[in-house]
């Protein structure tokens, strides 16, 4: 009897803890974290939002509403999700998620990190590939409307880089389609791996 009772008590406490943390988020935020993970830390295929540049998040939400961002998952999930978000609500959500401390995904192939670091920090001039660091920063933290890449999931990063090459529009900075189109498959893998570990 005692064993079952204490098990039930533990279960009840656990439920309360989960429900409490869910209740702490506003309904608007919870609409996002259903897919983007508790604390906005990401839940594949939905990327981490925590610690992302507020202006970048706002621009993406606008891109979903305008359908300017047209890659498959955006069309399938985000066009509907952002449909009823007015500019003010988008602004508030962007500020909220930007304020959360990001946790790195740490899910890339560790053997590719060194190659990815070289491409990121130095580029590949002979192949006309620029060094990502110039815009995205020494710690891939981004600035203004240039997104933080550090610690994003490697599958998401890989998908973005591939999709520019495939001609999708990601509501991004002007040079990104040109830059990403020049990357080989193995270079994309290396970059995605390296970035996924950045804290």
């Amino acid at each position: 009897m005692t064993g079952i009772r204490s098990t039930l008590l533990i279960l009840a406490a656990a439920c309360l803890a989960v429900c409490a943390s869910a209740r702490a988020e506003s309904p608007a935020v919870r609409n996002c974290t259903w897919c983007h993970g508790s604390g906005g830390q990401g839940y594949s295929p939905a990327p981490r939002l925590a610690g992302q540049r507020a202006q970048y998040i706002e621009n993406q939400l606008a891109g979903f509403r305008s359908h300017g961002r047209d890659n498959p998952f955006s069309k399938q999930y985000m066009w509907g999700a952002a449909e009823n978000l007015n500019a003010g609500a988008a602004h508030e959500l962007a500020l909220y998620f930007a304020s959360l401390a990001p946790r790195p995904a740490n899910d890339g192939d560790a053997d590719l990190v060194a190659t990815g670091r070289t491409i990121y920090q130095q580029g590949m001039p002979e192949e006309n590939i620029v060094a990502c660091v110039v815009c995205h920063g020494p710690n891939a933290e981004g600035v203004g409307q240039i997104p933080r890449l550090g610690g994003l999931g490697h599958a998401y990063l890989k998908r973005m880089l591939e999709q520019w090459g495939q001609g999708y529009h990601l509501n991004s900075g002007p040079p990104m389609p040109d830059i990403a189109s020049k990357l080989s498959a193995s270079q994309i893998e290396a970059l995605a791996a390296y970035l996924s570990f950045i804290r």
């Binding site: 130095q122 580029g123 002979e126 006309n128 620029v130 660091v133 110039v134 995205h136 240039i146 040079p175």
Partner: protein, 208 residues
């Protein structure tokens, strides 16, 4: 991106107009290299505020561009990114790129604090005689478009100008046994105060 189609046409026009000495660099490779430069420096080489400010190259004096690329290659001007970029460029490619950038003329991207512009104009046109600082206009021209090896400043990025003037001695002229044209600016950059730098940078950044 909407600019892309027009960009290809513009590049083709530029290449068809390229001077004789640039013919050594094949047309295809100049086009590819130019596109690579523009990934950072902007679709019309107008510059870009990345994490680091990436300077405007549009309308720049060809001699100045060539001198800077050589300075990067020879480590007389310290910049790891630009060393990596520049050391793969043949002399013919350097010339072709410089000519291409010189021909571009987009509007300045702006963004500098407007309140500093008037003070900046005074420094630019009159110098600061009490501190022995010459008028910038005397060398850079009244419209800041430069000449020969003296660079165009008109429309240059505000944060880039501030960074260059502030770090002049740490970034340029890094080989004391091989003094270069950067030596001329050392006394000026050294004498200007932080607020004077910001003012003159703001002023020229808006010039067309």
């Amino acid at each position: 991106m909407r600019l892309h189609g027009g960009l290809h046409i513009a590049l083709l026009a530029l290449l068809l107009a390229a001077p004789a000495h640039a013919e050594n660099a094949s047309r295809g490779s100049v086009q590819a290299k130019l596109s690579y430069c523009k990934d950072c420096h902007g679709a019309s080489a107008q510059g870009f505020r990345g994490y680091f400010p990436i300077p405007r190259l549009a309308g720049q004096q060809t001699e100045y561009l060539e001198n800077q690329l050589r300075a990067f290659i020879e480590h007389r001007r310290t910049n790891n990114i630009m060393f990596n970029v520049a050391h793969t460029l043949s002399p013919a490619m350097v010339s072709a790129l410089a000519e291409s950038f010189h021909a571009l003329n987009p509007p300045p991207i702006g963004g500098a604090p407007r309140g500093l512009v008037e003070e900046g104009r005074k420094i630019f046109e009159d110098g600061v005689p009490d501190d022995n600082i010459a008028a910038c206009a005397a060398c850079h021209g009244p419209d800041a478009t430069g000449t020969g090896e003296i660079p165009r400043l008109a429309g240059q990025l505000y944060p880039y100008l501030v960074k260059e003037l502030t770090n002049w001695g740490k970034e340029r002229g890094q080989n004391p046994s091989q003094p270069d044209t950067s030596a001329i600016m050392s006394p000026v950059a050294h004498s200007l105060s932080k607020s004077q730098i910001e003012a003159v940078a703001a002023y020229v950044s808006y010039l067309k």
